[in-house]
């Protein structure tokens, strides 16, 4: 036991360093692998997504407009405005779903492909 105590501190540090190096390597590898794996299999899923995204946008916009109209008593106006905004939101979401093959959904802008790596690099 005593012998172990003497020898373990340097070896643990060494192990720690090696672990960190290995983890960095694995992370870099996985980061590189990401676009590849994203482009092959879920292509069908992404194609299906765009349609749903369009319909859901228009649906939610219209529902919100109808609800606000009922509440604020401004009959057709908010319905019309929110229908158009909802259609725009639906198109925006569909565009985001298609443009980055799923990676660009949410609030990332344009060709901001290394966004997930940014968070990873901070570690």
């Amino acid at each position: 036991m005593a012998k172990d105590d003497q020898t373990s501190p340097p070896s643990l540090d060494d192990l720690d360093a090696r672990l960190r190096a290995a983890r960095d390597g694995a992370e870099r590898k996985s980061g590189k692998r990401a676009p590849e794996s994203a482009s092959s299999s879920p292509l069908v899923g992404m194609a299906m997504r765009a349609g749903v995204e369009l319909v859901a946008g228009v649906g939610v916009g219209t529902a919100a407009g109808y609800g606000l109209d009922k509440w604020l008593d401004t009959s057709p106006w908010l319905l019309i405005v929110f229908f158009l905004l909802g259609a725009a939101a639906g198109m925006l979401n569909a565009y985001r779903a298609v443009s980055g093959l799923g990676m660009a959904l949410g609030y990332r802008r344009g060709a901001d492909e290394n966004a997930p790596d940014k968070g990873r690099g901070g570690e």
Binding site: E27, S37, G119
Partner: protein, 240 residues
């Protein structure tokens, strides 16, 4: 002949009513229970041996684990690790629910909008709270990305807000619509087989192909649902 949508009818197995609320234990709930038991049994039984060189079952469990672990790592990064248990549970629950629905006479609970919407809405609320807790009011910059001309704000902010609220709807509708459409289609073609007599061979062949396609859809939709959950978590954690 039964109508193609009769398979989605809920049958109360244990009628229960609490304070005017219908809390009956239905076929849907039964299959959710079976799914939870199935997933638990799959993971615990296949990992019971815990061998260094995995057998067939252990391999499957490890593949599922690694698949989700990679998905979380690639989409969220290192901070995503603490959400891995949630994402893994979600993935296996939907995957098993979808796949068990392919067993004849089974009930597909993911073909009900209320089930998928409950899951999507819980994720939506959870992600929003997570974003607010982690970033405070800075979270609202999601609705107005930096570098956008100020003049666009009155148009862009409502669009972004709506597109944020579309998330739970599109997430739930996608899974529900895919499952329901697929099962209805199979039932319709099944009806053709009976109705056409000897010529029913043609739709029969189609059903075989359709069954394979439905299994693909079942796996794919579980993947897409989980993938989008990861992306929403990533948005809330990192705020682009």
């Amino acid at each position: 002949m039964a109508s193609p949508v009769e398979q989605f009818k809920l049958k109360p197995l244990l009628p229960l009513e609490v304070g005017g609320l219908d809390l009956s234990y239905t076929t849907s709930a039964l299959w959710m229970t079976i799914t939870v038991i199935g997933v638990t049994a799959f993971l615990t039984l296949s990992m019971r041996g815990g061998r260094l060189v995995p057998g067939r079952w252990q391999s499957m469990a490890e593949m599922a684990y690694e698949f989700v672990a990679n998905m979380v790592r690639e989409n969220i990064g290192n901070e995503g690790r603490q959400y891995f248990p949630f994402v893994f549970t979600l993935f296996l629950f939907i995957l098993f629910g979808n796949l068990m629905g392919m067993i004849p006479y089974a009930y597909t609970f993911t073909s009900q909008i209320i089930v998928t919407f409950a899951m999507a809405f819980a994720i939506f609320v959870g992600v929003t709270i997570l974003g607010l807790v982690r970033h405070g009011f800075h979270f609202f910059t999601l609705f107005f990305p930096s570098g956008t001309p100020i003049a666009l704000a009155p148009v862009l902010i409502p669009i972004e807000v709506i597109s944020y609220f579309v998330r739970p709807v599109s997430l739930s509708v996608r899974l529900f619509a895919n499952m329901m459409a697929g099962h209805t289609m199979m039932k319709v073609f099944g009806g053709f087989v009976i109705a056409l007599g000897i010529f029913g061979v043609a739709p029969m062949v189609l059903i075989v192909a359709l069954t394979g396609f439905e299994i693909l859809v079942a796996v794919l939709q579980a993947y897409v649902f989980t993938m989008l959950t990861c992306m929403y978590l990533n948005d809330a954690i990192h705020l682009h």
